[in-house]
């Protein structure tokens, strides 16, 4: 057991304490956890079975048996929002995973190698950035057909350059530092240095970015499924619910209210979590803000 491990718990405990004292972080954490819990519960229990249509009970207002009312097919809105949370989280999470998994190695490689590899990768990044993301996502889902999986791919592709940029910028600032120089002097290769020294030190930066991209992913998924390009019925999604609500807004405005609120609360929670995390992990930034 090395000395490192012996000293580890203290800074970690310190970090958690500091994080919990940060208001943004705390509120964000509570909201995010609540939404995640809701999605989790929906896996084995929802107030009503949403695959059973009850046209006689359609477009009901708020009541004790249906707290958020029912939609145009008599499905319980609360149950649909719970399952929609699962869909939103799954799509955004996997899309962040794609961006992280491909973007971070690319960015770290660009920083470690420099030269033409760096140039080529960054130009490629510029090309992806020049594409209007939403239009391209529409194009991608049109090519491969609408559906949750293709929505994930479409959103994920646009996460790659974001993570590549953050990873490269973070890594570039570390390469001239003494501890990296020491590792190089000790004869470690660039790959090993990246894995052992660079990545752990840019992880907090990447974590903050991941939270932000997660929030953007939820918004993007809602947009795509509003256009009918996300998860397909009968799988409920918040965007699709808003689309269905649109034509009935004059008679049943609550159909549009709750899915929208679900999106706002989820995105708000994730953004607060990201802001709080940034404040805690990077005190210098907090000072500037």
């Amino acid at each position: 057991m090395s000395a490192d491990m012996f000293f580890m718990p203290a800074p970690e405990r310190h970090f958690i304490l500091k994080a919990l004292q940060n208001r943004s972080f705390l509120i964000g954490l509570v909201i995010t956890a609540a939404i995640a819990l809701m999605a989790l519960i929906s896996l084995f229990w929802t107030p009503y079975d949403i695959t059973r249509l009850q046209v006689a009970a359609r477009m009901q207002g708020l009541s004790l048996s249906h707290p958020f009312g029912t939609d145009h097919l008599g499905r319980d809105i609360l149950s649909m929002i719970m399952i929609g949370a699962r869909n939103s989280i799954a799509v955004a999470l996997v899309a962040v995973g794609i961006g992280f998994g491909i973007g971070v190695p690319l960015g770290a490689l660009a920083a470690a190698r420099g030269g033409w590899i760096d140039d080529a990768l960054m130009r490629l990044n510029d090309v992806v950035f020049a594409f209007p993301a939403l239009i391209s996502a529409v194009m991608i889902t049109a090519v491969f057909g609408p559906g949750a999986v293709n929505a994930i791919i479409a959103i994920g592709i646009f996460n790659i350059p974001v993570f590549a940029r953050v990873a490269r910028a973070g890594a570039l600032s570390l390469w001239p530092r003494e501890f990296v120089l020491a590792a190089r002097a000790a004869g470690k290769g660039r790959v090993l240095i990246t894995l052992e020294h660079i990545l752990p030190n840019i992880m907090s930066l990447l974590l903050v970015q991941a939270t932000i991209q997660f929030a953007l992913g939820v918004l993007a998924e809602a947009g795509l499924s509003y256009l009918g390009l996300g998860a397909q019925p009968p799988m409920p999604s918040w965007g699709r619910m808003l689309f269905d609500a649109q034509t009935r807004i004059a008679v049943a405005p609550h159909l549009a209210l709750f899915p929208g609120l679900a999106i706002v609360i989820t995105v708000l929670g994730l953004n607060l979590l990201g802001d709080g995390l940034r404040d805690v992990l990077d005190p210098r930034l907090r000072h500037e803000r």
């Binding site: 594409f131 209007p132 549009a256 706002v264 708000l268 607060l272 500037e288």
Partner: protein, 318 residues
Amino acid sequence: MTAFLAKRLAVGLITLLAASVIVFSVLEILPGDPARIMLGMNASPDALEALRIEMGLDRPILARYLDWLAGMATGDFGRSYTYSSPVLDLVWERLAVSLPLAVFALSLSTLIAIPVGVFSASRRGSAADTITMGAAQVGVAIPNFWFALLLVYVFSVGLRLLPAGGFPGWGESWAQHWQAFKALILPAVALALPQAAILARVTRSAMVEVLGEDYIRTARAKGLPRTQVLWRHALRNAMIPVLTIMGLQLAFLLAGTIIIENVFYLPGLGRLIFQAISQRDLIVVEGVVMLLVASVILINFAVDICYAIVDPRLRAGR
């Protein structure tokens, strides 16, 4: 400065070329034969073959790519299969909706966000700052199409003040212009709010940073009025991040109105491309996406020029 801009321009052109390769190859693998879609399922093989030859679908892929590229370079974006009119004409027609909408939304967002951001930064830590930034935090989280639905419910369904959708065309008389403008008010507000929230946050943090600089203290110390220090000295120096975000937002607004155009049934660029994709009208999709990519690059270039105007160091130096 000239060298700096020349380099940016060169990078932009290379990006555009790379984008054209991507757009062309992505749409090449799109399932569905455009000729069959045009003629329908019962078309005779002969007619199908004739149309393929007429559309050039029988030629090798590289030749078609080069033709397409050369066409665009000379301003010929091809003809739409479904509208049977030149792509460029369609784009002009739709831009008459999309461009005013984008400019309208960006102006609204800027007019709200910059004063709010400056105000918040100047009273950092106050209750007013906390409340406005809290509101901005919520604004960032609101999907614009949901906000659009709420606006429709309040201003169209409830108050019956503004149309819930559709676009009558710009028309000839002032009364018709006004009707057209009215049709764009709700879409523009729906687009502007989340954008304003982002811009206000960026403006505030840029201003907070600048207000901590020595030259601001100097300006105050020499007795300049508070408002003059804030709006002239500080804001000008905080403009670079603000301009960057505004450039990104204009680019987003030109193309990203696709959902809002669907909410309000506006015949803009976004709807054109959305319909063209579902009808497999590839030439329209290719042309519009390329024009949008070109406009993103152009906007970035314009932002670079703005940097130089705002920051004299860039003008004299590089």
